[in-house]
Every structure is written in structure tokens, then in C-alpha cells.
């Protein structure tokens, strides 16, 4: 799997620039998916508002750029921190609830941010805003160079997967997974789920914020649509298609979903009418992706 990722950069860099673009976009969204997997796959929190952090990260870059701050270090640090803070605020309120409430609440808060994005006219409102210049990392790397940018994204994606891997195996990760597996049992042995879930939520938000910053640099254009629930749904699908039981799974899921989307949209502009039922079928029959030989939870 990892080999597949390392090879293309070399091959494609010699060939079609389009594929460089495509794979780069997939990898950026894969980072978002990996971050969601932490709270969804391992934590059992069905957060339907994860795209919010893509938007926050992207707008952090855009807004700072708008005001003349193009230093990449500052921009990306703000992207991550802002996402973490918003995740903290949203999580603090939402994680006290569970089940259907939690899903609806996370969706509602994301929508709120979406409307906020639309209504602030200075930053483009509904139409979005253009990025004047990419994040500047003076001396280190020039993001205007497609290949260099590609490698930056690849590196960050691998880092995201690695970090998640460590977290999931640590004591913290075990509590998170235990709470998902059997909450009553966890409380009975002395774990209070709330602080751990909140911490995971914040970490996931921060990681997704970084993905957002990358995305802004990738598309040079930021719209509130990045925070839409459709985007959240897309990320969720990447997670389950790839299999929620592994840290690298979401990467596979991202490739799977986005390549399918790319393929379908090449056939017809109405590709969603095919994708919709495909997704439904995959949920009904393809139960947990490539989840492997793990115990299936009770319905």
C-alpha cells in the first residue's frame, strides 16, 4: 500500500500534470478522512460536521492572506489552532449527548458555520474568495511548484497516518476504543468517557484544519461549500469504504471514492444519481469495508 504511494510521484511527475493534481487532492482529503476515522472509527462518534474544520483551516489561510499575512508557518499554525478551538467549543456541548442527538447537533453546528461563511461579505460570502498567494515557506519549499507541493502533501499524509497509529495504540487510544466498544463496562471500571472523547474530537478537528489549509493552497479558491454537509458526508464515506478498523484505511477509502467520483463524472454530469444508490448498496451489503476479521458489533 505504502509502496503504491511512493512510486506514482516519480512516474507521474514525468507524465501528466493532471494526475499530479488529482492525487494531491485525494491525499489532502485523505488526511481529513484519517482525522475523522479517529473519532468515528475508533471513538464511535458519528460526527456529521467534520467538514467544518476543512473550512476553518482553509479560511484561516484565506483570511490571513487577505490581510497580508502570507507566512505559511503562521497561517497553518492558525489553521490548526482555530480548528482545535472550534472543535473544543462544539465538542464540549455535543459530546454530552449521544445517539441521534449527537449526529444532528454536529450537523447543525457545521451548518451554522456554513451560514456564517456565507454571510460575511468581505470574504466573498456565497461566492467564496480567491487566494492571493500560496502559503510562503521562505527558503524551505515553494508551494507554487506542483511537485514540491505534492511531496509536502504526501509527507503530511503519512505523518497523519503515523500519528493516528500511535495515538490509537496508546493508553489514550485504548480508552477511546474501549468506550466505543462497551460504554457501560468502561464506566464500571472507572473511565469517564467525556474528557477522552473531547480530547479526541479536538485532535481530529485540528488535523482536519491542517487538511483545510492544504486544500486552500491546492485550489487557490475557498468557498463555504467546503463546510457543507455534503462534504462531511463524502469524508464519512471515505472512512467507511476504506474500513474503519485501520489507520490507513481512510486513505484507501479516499482513493476509492474520489476515483469513482472522477470516473462517473466523466461519463455524465448527473453522476450523483448513480453514486447515490451505489453508496446505499455499499452500506447495505458491504458492511464494514475492508475491516478484516474482527468481531462484528451487535446491531
Amino acid at each position: 500500500m505504502l509502496v503504491l504511494l511512493a512510486l506514482p510521484p516519480l512516474v507521474i511527475a514525468l507524465g501528466q500534470p493532471f494526475y499530479l493534481d488529482l492525487v494531491r487532492r485525494i491525499m489532502i482529503l485523505a488526511i481529513a478522512a484519517v482525522s475523522l476515522n479517529l473519532i468515528l472509527g475508533y471513538g464511535g462518534l458519528v460526527s456529521f460536521g467534520h467538514a467544518a474544520y476543512l473550512g476553518i483551516g482553509a479560511y484561516a489561510v484565506g483570511i490571513l492572506g487577505f490581510y497580508g499575512v502570507t507566512n505559511g508557518w503562521i497561517q497553518w499554525a492558525v489553521a490548526i489552532t482555530a480548528s482545535a478551538l472550534v472543535a473544543l467549543a462544539i465538542g464540549a456541548v455535543s459530546i454530552r449527548t449521544s445517539g441521534i442527538y449527537f449526529i444532528m447537533i454536529t450537523l447543525a453546528f457545521t451548518q451554522m458555520l456554513y451560514y456564517l461563511g456565507i454571510s460575511i461579505a468581505e470574504f466573498g460570502g456565497d461566492d467564496g474568495m480567491r487566494l492571493n498567494a500560496k502559503s510562503q515557506f521562505a527558503g524551505l519549499v515553494d508551494l507554487n511548484d506542483p511537485v514540491a507541493f505534492y511531496y509536502v502533501v504526501l509527507l503530511l499524509m503519512l505523518l497523519a497516518v503515523f500519528l493516528t497509529y500511535k495515538i490509537v495504540k496508546s493508553r489514550f487510544g485504548m480508552v477511546l476504543r474501549a468506550t466505543k466498544s462497551n460504554e457501560a463496562r468502561s464506566r464500571a471500571i472507572g473511565f469517564s468517557p467525556y474528557p477522552y472523547r473531547l480530547a479526541a474530537f479536538v485532535i481530529a478537528g485540528a488535523m482536519c484544519g491542517l487538511a483545510g489549509a492544504l486544500y486552500a493552497n491546492h485550489t487557490n479558491y475557498i468557498t463555504p461549500g467546503l463546510m457543507s454537509w455534503q462534504q462531511s458526508g463524502d469524508i464519512m464515506f471515505m472512512v467507511i469504504l476504506g474500513g474503519m478498523a485501520s489507520t490507513a484505511g481512510p486513505v484507501l477509502g479516499a482513493f476509492a471514492l474520489l476515483l469513482v467520483e472522477d470516473l462517473l463524472s466523466g461519463w455524465t454530469q448527473h453522476w450523483q444519481v448513480i453514486l447515490g444508490p451505489l453508496l446505499i448498496l455499499s452500506v447495505i451489503f458491504f458492511r464494514r469495508g475492508l475491516a478484516g476479521v474482527l468481531y462484528k458489533p451487535d446491531a
Binding site: 496508546s170 489514550f172 487510544g173 466498544s181 457501560a184 464500571a188 472507572g190 473511565f191 477522552y196
Partner: protein, 245 residues
Amino acid sequence: MLEVKGLTKTFGALRATDAVDLEVQEGETLAVIGPNGAGKTTLISQLAGNLRPDAGRIRFAGEDITSLSAPQRSRKGLARSFQITSVYPEFSALDNVALAVQAHAGHSFRFWREARSDPALIEPARRMLDDVGLSERTNVLAANLAHGEQRQLEVAMALATRPRLLLLDEPMAGMGIEESQRMIAFLATLKRRQTIVLVEHDMDAVFRLADRIAVLVYGRVIATDSPEKIKMNEEVRRAYLGEDA
């Protein structure tokens, strides 16, 4: 060590727990028996913190714990096993117990070091599994354990939290004769170093393990006494053991 006064819990018109008074001394084993529907699990749930009583106080080791949540009570040394097996099915037996150990090994906001290879967690977990007799099955997924083994795992997890008081809710539920005997033997050794509140149907176990017995009928404690006296108590015989006990 445990003092319960006037514990009451009603569900609509049903008095599941009716002004229950109980006292458990350190080191003793109190068995709670009663016919089905007497409210035994409801009582345990209130003691463990899973259910809020409508009235009454619970004191544990001199401290009023009535308003504490289940995780808080666990951290104070009150451990519980469930009547319907409640373990982590997709984790191995070792992982299950290690988690219980971890819950009492300080906070778990450690993000880097792998938990599964941490001897501070693994060693005590192994010892616990040896104690209950599951040393051969440490790497088996909890879901794949036999029912009796899962019950043993339940007890192991409760023990792994190094409790001062054990609340055991029908530890032998669903076990066959041989497994029950083994569990009783194990509990007999446990008796000597633990304070236990034991809810059980298995009368053999009750009379072998209990220092005192409390009889619960329709949510009320109708008698609390030594096993011999309970055997001879008229009211108890009528309500529970049947005339020909």
C-alpha cells in the same frame, strides 16, 4: 465499610427498592438473595452508581457516595461485575483486564507509548487472569470465550481495579455445574481478602460463601442474618425457599 440507609427507587407505581437498610463490615461476605423480580439487580445498580435512588444514602468507607457517578465510585474502590456479561468483545482477554488495570493507573492522557506492550499494565493483568484460571486463554478474543470463561473474565476485570468492595451480580449466571464449582472455589479463596456483596440464586454457593445473608422480597429486606438463622426463618421460607426447603 458499606452502609446503606433508606434506599428507595420507584419506577412509576413499582417500588423496586423499598427503604432498604444494609450494612457490610470490612472483610465479610454479604449475600443478597430473593425471588425473581425482588429487585436485586436494581439494588446493585444503585450501589454501583448506574441508577440514581429516589431517596436514601449510601456511605462507603465513611464517605457519602450517594451523588457520585459510576466511574467515580469505581475510582474510590467499589467494583462491580454484571449479571449479563459485559466485556469488550473485540479485545482479547488480556486486553480486557489490562484496560481495567489502566483505569486505575492514573490518567490515560498518554498518547505515545503503546499500551499493549506496557509491563505496568500487562503484568498485573496476567496475574489476574492466572488467579481466575484463564491463563491459557489470555490471547483469545473475549467474544470467542466460552460463557463460563466470560463470567470469569468479568470477575477478573472487577478484581483488576483493586477494589475495596466487590459487588458481584450473579457471577455464576448461566454456568454449568463444573464451572460453578470452580467459581465457588475461587470465590472462597477470594473471601479471605475481599469484602464482597454477592447476589446469587445458586443456594449452594450462597450458603458456602456468605457470612451473612440479606433476603430481598419485592424490594424490601425482610431479614438479614447468619445463614443458619436465615434457613430457619419462617417468613423467608414462605417467601422464598418454599415450605419444603
